[in-house]
Amino acid sequence: MTSSSIESIYILILAGFVGYEVIRHVPPLLHTPLMSATNAISGISLVGSLVAAGSNHGVVSTILGVIAVTAATINVVGGFMITDRMLKMFHRGERQPGKPGAS
């Protein structure tokens, strides 16, 4: 096993622990936005897709890469936009006293 792959495993495990600690404190109120936001973040596969689509390693790589770029971009753009749309709706009731059902 090379030292670089051991390093990668370190990173994976430590990131997992950090992630768990951070996410453990997200209230159930925000579980849907959490899911939607992590989904957008997992669109990070876009980074790999860009390399496959842009590095001119043959037709197959390019085609697969372009499809992957499209799919990952849908997640990044759509995921962040809809999460923001959701988070905008969460507010304390006092801001509109007595009118929670206005819209």
């Binding site: 990173i11 959490l34 899911m35 992590t38 890469g65 499209t70 969460f90 009731g93």
Partner: protein, 498 residues
């Protein structure tokens, strides 16, 4: 540009992702957190585009343009009630990207793939492919393109597990000999098939667990991509996504008092043979919206328990309006949200937020369960299993042991429901037959609109009489305790063979 610079971009992106998710710990910091995560994503993308390997941009532009248009359209036009479907389909897109990158890397390098790279690629395409089809199946069920009930056949678990063993076998064969190209594609095929088979027997109410689990797999597939192409930010972001999904599915399983294995292989909710042989007749009392409005008018405290039925009936706005009307009358109004109410984690919270209900009115079971006994009315809107007392007492019930909301302890329980059909778990709900329970059948939205209208008229009349008589307060007359007077006499009595 020196390669070390790309790593700086990726490092910054990773830090921004983590601080961004930390922002989601509170609704006040959530949007700022999301903005940080967006900035992280932008940095990661810019850092990647600056790399030397990327020599052709035209195809990237095509993909990014189409993806942005589709993604933005989905984000803008998708109604909030369709959120579970959207989440499911986007897991599918994420997994598709990871899988295709894996295939592209394998295609380029085979047969010169070393064992470590092959291990990473194997995880990537296997997890990725089963997430693609698994999420599509979940999407189909949630969108009602496929039957929402579990699909069961003989030897189901044996077939799925055999296929899984076969896929693992192919994976090991590839690690031994990475040059076996047909085996690689057969493994992708097996992964796709496993995804279908895994979600086929899972029914609607178990969707929160499955969606969270697929979220986790999509993240792990991205992390494996990071290993395969030696990219740290992919590993970090994938790990975050993976743990988040895993954590949520743990939470959801715990909220149902079931194990992962039971959710995945238990097939709850399938048609079961009827165990009771005898014909037992139980009566349920049928009330009208007028009865309900009469009781609600007098209630000092109300706890609303929303369920998936609220989402189906699109009744969240009507529920919010009712809450406003009751608050204006001076009643205490709160919402009790069970973690597995709805079809995804946090489903009810999002719908109520959309209807402008302030989040300080929303409570988790632990926070509110002790208060039901001192509450005049528990209003159950389209929820069933999460208020079924069988979970406490009936040991042979599939619900047994699930922590439920103590709606049955309120003085009056008002249930808005389409029919007496048992909930997802197939367990008849004794609560519906209790003396203090008022069943109001019909579409929840129509019922609520009728109740709201009556409450508005009542408020109007009170206001008018106050103006003419000069009476100080409509609350001057002390109301009877509502508990003992559940509405006007029943209008209809329905009989039902159990």
């Amino acid at each position: 540009m020196n390669t070390a610079w790309f790593d700086v971009f990726y490092l910054a992106a990773a830090i921004l992702f983590i601080t961004g998710l930390k922002g989601l710990n509170s609704p006040r910091t959530a949007r700022r957190g999301l903005f940080l995560a967006e900035a992280g994503m932008a940095l990661a993308i810019i850092g990647t585009l600056l790399r030397h390997e990327i020599v052709q941009f035209q195809w990237i532009l095509v993909g990014v343009t189409i993806g942005s248009a589709v993604g933005a359209a989905m984000a803008i036009f998708m109604p909030m009630t369709a959120m579970p479907q959207r989440i499911a389909i986007s897991h599918s897109f994420g997994a598709l990207a990871a899988t295709l990158v894996g295939i592209a890397v394998y295609h380029e390098h085979a047969p010169h793939v070393d064992r470590i790279e092959m291990t990473a690629l194997g995880f990537e395409v296997l997890l990725g492919s089963l997430t693609i089809t698994g999420s599509l199946m979940a999407f189909g069920k949630l969108q009602e393109l496929l039957p929402g009930t579990p699909v069961i056949y003989r030897f189901q678990n044996i077939v799925t597990l055999t296929l899984f063993a076969l896929a693992v076998g192919m994976f090991i064969a590839l690690i031994v000999d990475a040059g076996a190209v047909p085996v690689f594609y057969a493994m992708v095929g097996a992964g796709l098939l496993i995804g279908v088979l895994l979600v086929l027997p899972i029914g609607g109410a178990d969707m929160p667990v499955v969606l969270a689990l697929l979220n986790s797999y999509a993240g792990l597939a991205a992390a494996a991509t990071g290993f395969a192409i030696g990219n740290t930010v992919l590993i970090v972001a994938g790990a975050l996504d993976g743990t988040s999904g895993f954590f949520l599915s743990m939470m959801m399983s715990r909220a149902m008092n079931r194990s992962f294995a039971n959710v995945l292989f238990g097939a709850v909710g399938a048609a079961k043979p009827q165990t009771q042989g005898g014909v037992e007749t139980r009566t349920v009392t049928h009330y009208t919206p007028e009865d309900a409005a009469f009781i609600l008018e007098q209630a000092q405290s109300v706890i609303i328990v929303p369920g998936y039925g609220m989402a189906v009936a699109q009744a969240q706005q009507a529920v919010a309006e009712l809450a406003t009307l009751l608050l204006r009358r001076g009643a205490q109004v709160r919402f009790a949200i069970h973690p597995v109410a709805g079809r995804m984690p946090g489903h009810m919270n999002v719908l109520l937020a959309e209807a402008n209900v302030g989040y300080e009115l929303l409570f988790e079971p632990d926070q509110i369960n002790d208060d039901f006994q001192a509450t005049d009315v528990a209003l159950v809107v389209g929820a069933n299993d999460v208020v079924n007392p069988a979970a406490r007492t009936k040991q042979d019930s599939p619900l047994y042991g699930m922590p439920i909301l103590n709606a049955d302890q309120a003085h009056t329980v008002m249930v808005l429901k389409r029919s007496l059909r048992p909930g997802f778990a197939g367990e008849d709900n004794d609560l519906f037959y209790e003396r203090q329970t008022m069943m109001v059948f019909g579409d929840a939205k129509a019922t609520l609109i009728a109740i709201n209208q009556l409450l508005k008229e009542q408020a109007h009349d009170e206001h008018a009489s106050m103006a003419s008589n000069g009476v100080a307060s409509p609350n001057g007359v002390r109301h009877e305790p509502v508990a003992d007077v559940p509405g006007t006499p029943p209008t209809t009595v329905r009989q039902r063979p159990a």
